[in-house]
């Protein structure tokens, strides 16, 4: 396509392997996606393959992706609001790692976490909200010396809770499409990714597809993360499999159920990890194992988004 205006376009593309190498042990990470929607699953697999340790993850609600990170002992701390494998049950690996003392969790509500990311992105140290009042979310903390604070509003006297902003080392989000410069568009719901993406000191954007810059600039109103925030871009089709990406593909519940059943025991988890993560050099090999026929069945059937 002919560029109408000549502007220098920086190429921020790197491979998934290179991107994960940039994240050192002990990093604090904003983890994107919400529930079954757009989790950075391929990134989780690569963190496991590179044997990363001691990460702290910040998110609202995540599921199989963070259960894998817990099983493989990549993560030692979470600050979040929710985890489960919805429609199936509790997260099996996290359950076990908590009992072993390998994982600690600081609990907030979903709105509290989303506001903590907004606060981080805005460059202010805290955000006020009207949730958590009167509960153990406010009264009990696991490892933070100061988890939240109640005060009377200096203007109205009304009671508010203050929650500390989050500025993690990295933000990892998986989006629908991005250009090589990092202008990202998300179809469907965005969960807390708009704020979370901007909260990190470095932002790595994974995407289902990399599109020409002209394509983005022809519809700039669809861009939800402009290039200014973005450090690196990683092309990663089917990057949320076996979860879902709006307009791209549905979840593979057969696989998720198999994962859940198998991970009820440590041996079962080890077997899954070996067979579906460690056996591969990269994520594309997992997709090969799943097979083209199954993937085509999961492809979104327009005009539906799933």
């Amino acid at each position: 396509m002919q560029c109408l205006v000549e502007v220098p376009v920086e190429d921020k593309r790197i491979s998934l392997k290179e991107a994960v190498k940039l994240v050192p042990d002990g990093s604090h990470i904003f983890w994107g996606g919400f529930g079954f929607q757009r989790p950075p699953m391929a990134f989780a697999h690569e963190l496991v393959r590179q044997n990363k340790r001691n990460m702290t993850i910040y998110t609202c609600g995540s599921e199989m992706d963070i259960d894998i990170l817990s099983g493989a002992k990549v993560v030692s701390r979470f600050e979040l609001a929710f985890f489960a494998i919805e429609g199936i049950g509790l997260v099996p690996n996290i359950q076990r790692r908590i009992k072993e003392g390998a994982i600690e969790i600081e609990d907030y509500s979903n709105l509290a976490m989303a506001l903590r990311f907004l606060g981080g992105a805005l460059g202010v140290p805290f955000m006020p909200l009207k949730s958590m009042l009167g509960t153990d979310l406010l009264a009990k903390s696991r490892f933070r010396s100061k988890k939240a604070h109640t005060m009377d509003c200096p203007f109205t006297g009304e009671k508010v809770v203050l929650v500390p902003s989050v500025r993690p080392d990295f933000s990892i989000v998986h989006v629908s499409r991005v250009d090589k410069e990092g202008n990202a568009q998300i179809d469907g719901i965005r969960g807390e990714d708009i704020e979370g993406a901007r909260a990190g000191k470095k932002l790595i954007v994974m995407a289902e597809e990399i599109v020409d810059t002209e394509f983005i600039r022809a519809q700039p109103d669809q861009t939800v993360i402009p290039n200014i925030y973005v450090s690196h871009v990683v092309e990663c089709p089917w990057g949320s499999y076996p979860m879902m990406v709006y307009n791209y593909y549905d979840y593979d519940m057969e696989h998720v159920r198999m994962y859940y059943d198998q991970c009820k025991t440590e041996e079962g988890w080890q077997k899954y990890c070996e067979e579906y993560i460690m056996a591969f050099n990269d994520y594309k090999e997992l997709l090969q194992k799943v097979g083209i026929e199954r993937l085509l069945k999961l492809k979104a059937k327009k005009p539906l988004a799933y």
């Binding site: 919400f34 529930g35 079954f36 929607q37 609202c60 609600g61 599921e63 979040l80 609001a81 929710f82 985890f83 489960a84 919805e86 429609g87 509790l90 996290i94 359950q95 908590i98 969790i105 609990d107 907030y108 509500s109 979903n110 709105l111 509290a112 989303a114 506001l115 907004l118 909200l129 009207k130 949730s131 958590m132 009042l133 009167g134 509960t135 153990d136 979310l137 009264a139 009990k140 009304e158 009671k159 508010v160 469907g188 719901i189 965005r190 969960g191 807390e192 990714d193 708009i194 704020e195 879902m244 709006y246 307009n247 549905d250 979840y251 519940m253 979104a300 539906l304 988004a305 799933y306």
Partner: protein, 263 residues
């Protein structure tokens, strides 16, 4: 025309619970829904008495008209004919905390006599026996929605005198406590279980038996509750589902994902 009710042996308890939940949704209301039974209840309400209800899912789907059953509150299925697909700050922040949500539905692993809810830990905070999913948007919803319906199973270990962990605020320790604490919403209005429906005594803010499901005795409810609930002199039987409601319900969840067909 008189309503035609279904005989008790023809429906399951879960079906009755879904119908009870559905009746709480008024036409035109803005309603926060999670997955499971509330999702079915909302879909039923839209097909019966409340076609104009605006169903909102905290992940960002707004005024959703899903035709297929969703497994996740972020499920793409919920985007079907939705008015908007935005995000959490929009739904839980601007919409809910901003005061636009009439009714919310939440689940509970434990509830106490003031309607306070635990969805975080079973066992002590220091040494938990089970780690549950956590608040999610539950705390936000029950903090700020005008009314909240709790849907849960009725067992002694779930209806407790003291919660293992207070995740979401009911009426805290009684009358006036929500106001003193600074909470915006009206608190829980109804608890729907597999045995009965319970509301809250306006004076004491304690749970009060409202109706018992067909075939369930008041004593059975008492025996399965770990706290003393208020029992009025007259406890009517829960209104039975109509043939129309039951037929619609089964068409909404044909595969029995949330409501298995057999008892």
């Amino acid at each position: 025309m008189a309503k035609k009710y279904v005989e008790p042996e023809e429906f399951t308890t879960l079906e009755l619970m879904a119908v009870c939940g559905s009746k709480q949704i008024k036409n035109g209301e803005v309603v926060f829904i999670g997955t499971g039974l509330p999702l079915i209840a909302a879909m039923l309400a839209k097909k019966t008495h409340a076609p104009g209800a605006k169903i909102v899912y905290e992940a960002g789907f707004i005024d959703s008209n899903a035709k297929d059953i969703a497994l996740s509150i972020a499920d793409s299925r919920l985007g079907y004919h939705a008015a908007g697909a935005i995000g959490l700050i929009e739904t839980l922040g601007l919409m809910l905390q901003g005061g636009h949500v009439d009714l919310g539905f939440v689940g509970a692993a434990q509830i106490d006599e003031y309607g306070n809810i635990n969805t975080t830990y079973i066992g002590s905070f220091e040494k938990p026996v089970v780690r549950l999913p956590g608040s999610g948007g539950g705390n936000d919803i029950i903090s700020s929605a005008k009314r909240v319906v709790v849907i849960m199973m009725h067992e002694k270990r779930k209806m407790v005198k003291k919660l293992d962990y207070l995740t979401s605020p009911g009426f805290l320790d009684g009358p006036g406590a929500r106001e003193r604490t600074g909470l915006l919403g009206g608190g829980p209005s109804l608890v729907v279980t597999n045995l009965c429906q319970m509301d809250f005594d306006p004076k004491t803010k304690r749970i009060r038996l409202a109706t018992v499901h067909p075939g369930v005795s008041v004593q059975q409810v008492v025996d399965n509750s770990g706290f003393d609930l208020i029992i009025p002199q007259n406890v009517p039987t829960t209104e039975l589902p109509t043939y129309e409601e039951l037929e619609l319900l089964r068409a909404i969840d044909p595969k029995g994902i949330y409501i298995p067909r057999s008892k």
